[in-house]
């Protein structure tokens, strides 16, 4: 074959243009020599489930990696469905990589447990470390951040998105040495307590390439102009608290500072915002493409005024204070809108506190031709509205609807919302992510199995009548990678009938369903390529009859074998040839 005539260096050069993992994986399967060449030049790896493979296996196969991204806990951990202590520890990864990847530059972790010891190890093991992104992580304190600040000489990005950090002191920021000038992105919005403002100011002053600055709530509004003046090149800004005594000097300083920030494209923060100060930001609104007002307790008309100025808006995250009227105005002024997320201001209130219904979403679907990603919390929905939305926006890629009351029917017909969601999957042929809610029968799953051929992630809660529902999904959704289910009457039959499907997916989560311990054991034996984890805080499932449903079930494919770090409420089901005891 002609392949063997192409020199290695040329192949390596060609492969260097391949950034997608899928392409690189395909290239590796062509032949042994391509496999070898590719593995030596892969620079970036993404591990969607930290237990799907071991760190040793990864570093053995890919010795020259510079960027690592790892995810830990399943998505439902965000809503407290995964018990504390379940797992997702990054420590073994860091220990192995500190030896294998001395040149590592980037680490991005999501839903993992990261300790101060880990952060310290990172800061001392990788001389060229540049980027640390911790999304929804936990287990560390500000002492760990101090290590990163002090030891990472070339740090470009420190992004603590939505992580839970134990705030021991705000002085960690002062650990950035005076000669650190490399920061491009700093996101400390999740931190509770005050950081040393003068240290922050000096840091911002000496980092001329700073593009992203997301402050935490404790940074007061009257200090914001000081920072903006020192960083007029900012592209993304997260304010601190937006409340202050109403004073004209604060207002004019703020306006002046914003006027100077000609490159601003994204705004967030807005805690405790006082509407009188919003006009200070009007000068930058026309350039804003991303606006996160989901912490801003602002109502119409102030909310509407701000949003309608942002005519180039592509992404809006907002509380339901925007109401149907605000969404209608949005649909008229922001024609470039691609992503909309509407969060509930009072998620546990017995009655709706604002006038936000299905009508708001329908208006946006009508007025915004580029809308492709939706997350919407509301109290009422109808099939008619869903059908309208589906017909208006066949280009939807992500559709996550949360009707707050479980089992809520179509409020007009009082029937299930099957046909509405059916219309979504039928019309939106590129749909990759879907979250269902409301009153739903097995019928909706039939529609999904028939039409949702590109669907990769499906979230189901309080839906369905029987195993048939689950069977439709597992047998019909060809592209399905992640399935998460809670409180549905799905049991053993569908799972066992579609067991092989599970090896083609990243993971399956089922909690408060009807899967028996016996079925879990069977799955564990039948499918050596999977870890079948039973999570049950009531004690060993063997102490109850085999037919008894397990509390929670997490099944994922793996080549890393059984976990060695399971807590006492997690049992991995025995695989056929293994002698290891799982109890």
């Amino acid at each position: 074959m002609a392949y063997s005539l192409i020199p290695e260096e040329v192949l390596e050069h060609v492969f260097s243009f391949l950034s997608s993992d899928r392409d690189r994986n395909s290239v590796s399967s062509v032949c042994k020599s391509w496999y070898e060449i590719e593995r030596w030049c892969r620079r970036r790896i993404f591990i969607g489930n930290c237990y799907s493979v071991s760190a040793e296996m990864v570093t053995r196969r890919f010795p020259e990696v510079r960027e690592v991204e790892i995810k830990g806990k399943p998505h439902f951990a965000d809503f407290n469905l995964v018990p504390e202590g379940w797992g997702g520890y990054v420590k073994p990864w860091i220990r192995v990589m500190s030896g294998a990847y001395p040149l590592l530059e980037e680490m991005k972790l999501k839903r993992m447990v990261v300790t101060d010891e880990c952060l310290d190890l990172i800061s001392r093991s990788f001389n060229n470390f540049k980027v640390l992104v911790l999304t929804s992580c936990e287990g560390f304190t500000t002492h760990g951040l101090a290590s990163i600040a002090a030891n990472c000489r070339n740090l470009r990005e420190l992004d603590l998105r939505e992580s839970e950090v134990e705030d021991l002191s705000g002085h960690w920021l002062s650990h950035f040495p005076d000669n650190c000038t490399s920061l491009v992105s700093l996101n400390i919005s999740c931190l509770g307590s005050e950081v040393s403002f003068s240290a922050l100011e000096r840091l911002v002053t000496r980092c001329p390439n700073l593009r992203t600055l997301r402050l935490n709530r404790a940074v007061p509004l009257d200090k914001l102009p000081n920072l903006l003046q020192r960083a007029p090149q900012l592209v993304e800004l997260g304010t601190g608290a937006c409340s202050a005594e109403i004073r004209s000097d604060i207002f004019s300083n703020l306006t002046e500072a914003f006027l100077a920030c000609k490159k601003l494209r994204a705004l967030s923060g807005f805690w405790d915002v006082v509407p009188a100060y919003l006009p200070a930001m009007y000068p930058v609104c026309s350039g804003i493409t991303s606006l996160n007002l989901s912490y801003a307790i602002v109502q119409s008309p102030d909310l509407g005024k701000l949003v309608s100025q942002c005519i180039n808006l592509q992404r809006l995250w907002v509380l339901d204070y925007i109401e149907d009227t605000g969404l209608e105005a949005l649909s008229l002024s922001c024609k470039d809108l691609q992503e909309l997320r509407v969060f509930p201001s009072d998620p546990f209130g017995a009655e709706p506190n604002v006038s936000l219904t299905e009508k708001g979403l329908v208006s946006v679907s009508e007025g915004c031709p580029k809308l492709q990603s939706v997350l919407y919390f509301c109290h009422q929905m109808s099939n008619a509205a869903l059908i309208t939305i589906a017909k208006n926006r066949p280009n939807l890629i992500r559709f996550r609807l949360c009707i707050i009351e479980p089992h809520a029917p179509d409020y007009l017909t009082l029937g299930p919302l099957d046909t509405g969601f059916g219309a979504i999957v039928e019309n939106c042929k590129e749909l990759r992510r879907l979250s269902l809610s409301g009153l739903l029968t097995d019928r909706v799953f039939e529609y999904i199995g028939t039409h949702a051929k590109k669907l990769e992630m499906l979230s189901i809660a309080f839906a369905g009548d029987s195993d048939l529902g689950l069977h439709h999904v597992l047998s019909g959704c060809e592209s399905l990678r992640k399935l998460e289910i809670r409180d549905c009457p799905f049991g053993d039959k569908a799972l066992l009938a579609n067991a092989a499907k599970l090896e083609t997916m990243r993971s399956l989560w089922m909690s408060s369903c009807s899967v028996s311990f016996g079925a879990c054991k069977l799955l564990g034996k039948k499918l050596p390529g999977l870890n079948v984890e039973v999570i049950d805080e009531r004690g060993h499932p063997g102490s109850r009859p085999e037919s008894c449903p397990v509390e929670k079930l997490y099944i994922y494919r793996t080549v890393g074998g059984q976990r060695v770090d399971t807590p006492d409420f997690v049992w991995t089901m025995e695989k056929e040839e293994e002698v290891l005891l799982t109890e």
Binding site: F76, D78, F79, N80, L81, E162, C190, A241, S243, A244, E245, I246, R247, S248, F251, S252, W271, D272, V274, P275, A276, P279, S294, Y295, I297, Q299, L319, Y321, F343, P344, S345, D346, P347, F348, G349, A350, E351, N353, V354, F377, C402, I404, P406, A461, R486
Partner: protein, 196 residues
């Protein structure tokens, strides 16, 4: 001067029976319905509040607007774990209540040399694009004068400072203005034409 209307309303909390109050013809002196209650707002903690504040923003317990249902709503039902699927840090960032704004915002207006003061409702000019222009027109009518070299308009803000009218956006002015003052004579010339 226009004809006077003498209003005494029993639920006007700040009203002293001996005070002579002159309202603009055709307007009613009404007190507020429930004000906004917003967490962490500092603008009500006025360090140097003048003794003659406008209508206080005390709640009238009997007048809870329907929009403030959340305070009086029935207790939420027993919560299901993890439902609705909202991250825990989002649960703490919500308001307690939504209330209706005050319908009027009367401030005292004094004119140098005039024997008594007037009161004017700034909210009357709130929805206009030219709040300041309309306000000046209203003042000119009320006191029967013309803005120019003889007169200048100023206001006293929350800190007690005398400020020239027109520098800040209307909303900010509304929030900080405690009283208006029409200045005459040499003081007015010093200020020159107003900023408006």
């Amino acid at each position: 001067m226009e004809g006077t209307h003498h209003h005494v309303q029993s639920d006007d909390l700040n009203f002293k029976a001996t005070e002579l109050r002159l309202g603009l013809p055709g307007t009613e002196i009404t007190t507020s319905s429930s004000p906004k209650i917003i967490i962490n707002i500092n603008n009500n903690n006025n360090k140097r509040s003048s003794p003659d504040n406008n209508e206080s923003e005390e709640e009238d317990d009997n007048r809870v607007s329907s929009a403030a249902k959340s305070i009086t709503a029935p207790a939420p039902k027993a919560q299901i774990v993890g439902w609705p699927p909202v991250r825990s840090y989002r649960k703490n960032n919500t308001a307690v209540v939504v209330g209706e704004e005050k319908k009027t915002e009367y401030v005292k207006v004094s004119m140098d040399g005039a024997p008594f003061l007037r009161k004017i409702d700034l909210k009357l000019y709130n929805n206009n694009k030219n709040g300041y222009t309309e306000l000046l027109n209203g003042l000119e009518k009320m006191f029967n004068f013309k803005i120019g070299s003889e007169y200048a308009t100023a206001y006293e803000d929350k800190d007690g400072d005398l400020m020239l009218l027109g520098d800040v956006p209307w909303d900010m002015f509304m929030a900080t203005c405690k009283r208006l003052r029409i200045m005459k004579g040499s003081d007015a010339r010093g200020l020159g034409a107003s900023a408006v």
